[in-house]
Symmetry: C2
């Protein structure tokens, strides 16, 4: 251990810089595989990723890493001079490092190996099961993946529920005890909206078509307005759109071209753009502290969903977008028809195609099923029936094809248990941000209508992005929006927007 | 140390697999920086490369790596059964690992650091000097780079000359004692050819123009014919074309578009394609042995130069290429005029623009200057004058702008001393291969004329690519071509091709 607080701090920063750089390279390997790498090269990438992951894990789980963080935490009172971060920043940094270190060190090597094997086998089995349309081809692999996820969660025991250990990996501080009632309250309020919409006259779905070459301009038009910095990133195509932060100065977006559903492409572009703005807005001067990082997956999703839904599905946004859409489509378009079409309520089997209101029901179903699997109230064999029953109950849909049902998401096949809730946590935060920014900026919609989105980005940069993970997501949210019940904000937002389109008023008591 | 020969072998393979994978990732980082990364992200890449290089260097220099290789070498007599490589392969693998390990372990950490700093500073100073057109802006950095290169070469002492230690890093087995007389003999034979060409009537330079979009088809046409596997690689654009083997199954080519010099683009594409065919043809089943690797930079260059010159500048090749060129240019072209234009002898200031004959003079000049710097017969301050004198003597050119002179190459700015000879070693080997393949395949040119290049690739795959670095380059060369003096082969080739175009006969005695 180094001798002085200043040396401890420097040593910890060197340590964090090291594993952040290795993490950035892992991000690049993933991006390259999805965007650039040829099909025949696929076999070589797994070993490279595994090797680098091992190096990164070793750096993180090294006892020296924990010792350094504890030393920094112990000397947070010391004043390191005007050039160095304050004691509270150093303490926050040390806590973040300790959390990473503890999570890495907590999982025994034998479980790390077992998990890697389960994920490789799981992904293969899932693909095979989807091809055959047979859940039972995936069932044994999923049983093992569930066991592994439970064992990992047990290593990270943080709350009273086993599942809290899984949540903690994505959303530090999220707990079953608070999520379950929030999700129940939200779901219970949304079901009547979806039901009523089924019985009401739906707005027309606008049939639009954009030739592939026109998309580049359209995507750029939107991302430029949002403030995405192309000089510190790039936009590419990928089968499943994603964003990757190779470094806060190298944040890459992908989207997909849907010539007959251009609003789907734009939705993906705006969504990923929202993620990218968060990454580009992180405090890069804190790179080596470990605080230059999103404060959880839910807050990350809040940034993508905020832009995609709160802004990108607003009437004002479509008014601004319309001329560019007209140019891309080659004919005139009524912006209000665009708005109505984009805000239809339409229960569908597939989450990623869902509208704003039903989307959360998809997530809540997955959350409750994961929880039941974790608590062994449900077996993997019973999962398809439970899935189908939930879709009938919550969305009024009769699932007949598992590819459109329990096999649709890649998450479980990759061992990602505990991630799904982040999507709805993101929607909840986004609704809170939407409400607060509207209160802060009375001319918000006027600005959106002329494409002046810079003040929105400034608002988010100041209140969310620039804070990194100095404090946790709930604190960032509360500091940004003040006293706000996000469940209430989201329900009201969905009634105000989608409900209004259908002439559906919110019941007096949900 | 593991207990049995079989366990030692497995452990060494695991070790090699590890550092080969890390090396492949470093290749990808480089490729991404040149091809994909946005300008504003540049600052982040250096730290990532440095971090990963450190990890790779630590793996390689770890004493355990040397111990394992020595254990494998000591038990090469043991029979590990039919599924495992023979004792001779294992011994060759262990020797390759030992060489890598010794090179990594030989350089003390303080020199590794000094070298990294010298290269960073050198590259910056070189860029500044080029902008200003002033060598003295680069001189202090170059003096340090030379000192570092000499110190590194001293760590790798392998021959009687200090410079042998520099050569060994690129061309194992190459020595000043044999290179100097070969290069002198070659240079002495080429100067009269170049002189005579100056006084003879030159073939017309064909003015051609290809619109940028047409290049993709043209490049693909050529690479497909060569047998480059696009399924295990890809073609992109880069300011300075290069090839990178991220893995033998992921070998990526770059080229550059020169609309007014399409033969320049095709030359670059074919050159890089030759490198790529070598990498794609390495014995991938030996990936973990360390033998799945080129047997030196000279042999690597022989593959690119063979395709670029021996094949790609032949009359038969231009006859095959002509229809595609006509389509790209939009008018008829005489294939023989194409051939003559591509084989003009034209002394130029810049190596990368040189014709086949003068190219070697550029290399020989650099080799002799590097050697003089290493042996302290020349100081960095005297270098520009020595450079200019050599260009006057060997190429009859009066260098006035250092940007077209001593500042033209990036090599020294990056600390790459000892690499230049590889280019001419490559040309020498390529001439030997050209002679041998013509003897083995009497219908070679008929096949080239119809674009049937597959038998050529098969010949190279069998005799060169598939051998990896099981034996050294001189052995691979000799096994492939039998009794052949490559200097004689190259001189004769250049007189047969370029000399003949100018009506210049070879003097009875060079």
């Amino acid at each position: 251990m180094a001798a002085s607080p200043s040396e401890d701090w420097k040593a910890m920063v060197a340590y964090v810089t090291r594993y952040r750089n290795l993490g950035g390279i892992l991000g690049l390997l993933e991006w390259d595989q999805q965007v650039c790498m040829s099909g025949g090269s696929a076999g070589s990438r797994g070993a490279q990723v595994a090797e680098l992951s091992k190096v990164r894990h070793a750096a993180l789980s090294d006892p020296r890493c924990g010792d350094l963080a504890r030393a920094v935490l112990g000397s947070a009172d010391a004043d390191l001079g005007p050039e160095q971060p304050s004691g509270s920043v150093r303490a926050a940094a040390a806590r973040a490092v300790l959390r990473d270190h503890s999570r890495a060190a907590a999982v025994p090597a034998v479980l790390v190996d077992r998990a890697a094997r389960a994920r490789t086998a799981g992904f293969t089995a899932w693909n095979r099961a989807r091809e055959a349309g047979q859940f039972h081809d995936f069932a044994p692999a999923l049983a093992e993946l569930t066991e592994v996820a439970r064992a990992e969660a047990a290593c990270h025991s943080v709350g009273e529920h086993l599942y809290d250990g899984a949540l903690e990996g994505f959303d530090p501080g999220a707990r079953v005890a608070s999520l379950t009632p929030m999700f129940r309250r939200l779901g219970t309020a949304l079901v009547p909206l979806v039901q009523a919409a089924r019985n009401a006259r739906a707005p027309d779905a606008l049939a639009l078509s954009v030739p592939e070459p026109a998309f580049e301009r359209l995507n750029r038009h939107v991302l430029d307005a949002m403030g995405y910095d192309f000089e510190r990133g790039r936009l590419d195509l990928a089968a499943h759109p994603f964003t990757v932060g190779v470094h806060p100065n190298d944040v890459r977006i992908t989207t997909r071209l849907l010539p007959d559903a251009p609003l789907g492409t734009l939705g993906a572009t705006i969504h990923e753009g929202g993620h990218a703005l968060y990454e580009q807005g992180l405090p890069v001067e804190w790179f080596g502290t470990g605080l230059c990082r999103a404060a959880g997956a839910g807050l990350h999703e809040s940034q993508s969903r905020f832009w995609e839904n709160q802004i990108g599905r607003s009437r004002a946004f479509f008014r601004w977008l319309c001329p560019a859409m007209e140019e891309a489509c080659g004919h005139t378009i009524d912006p209000d028809a665009l708005y109505r079409s984009a805000n239809r309520i339409e229960p569908t089997f597939v989450r990623v195609e869902a509208d704003e209101a039903t989307y959360n029901l998809h997530v809540i179903i997955r959350y409750e099923l994961e929880l039941a699997l974790f608590e062994e109230r449900l077996s993997v064999a019973e999962l398809p029936d439970a899935w189908n029953a939930a879709y009938a109950e919550w969305l009024g849909l009769d699932v007949t094809d598992p590819r459109q049902g329990v096999l649709q998401d890649i998450h479980w096949a990759c061992g990602l248990f505990g991630y799904f809730p982040s999507y709805t946590i993101g929607n909840l935060y986004a609704a809170g941000f939407g409400k607060a920014i509207a209160a802060d900026m009375p001319d918000l919609l006027d600005r959106v209508e002329v494409g002046d989105l810079a003040p929105i980005l400034r608002w988010l940069r100041e209140r969310v992005h620039s804070r990194g993970c100095e404090v946790d997501a709930p604190t960032i949210f509360q500091d940004a929006v003040g006293d706000c019940d996000p469940v209430e904000a989201l329900i009201q937002h969905l009634y105000d927007r989608q409900g209004a389109l259908y002439g559906i008023s919110r019941p007096i008591a949900d």
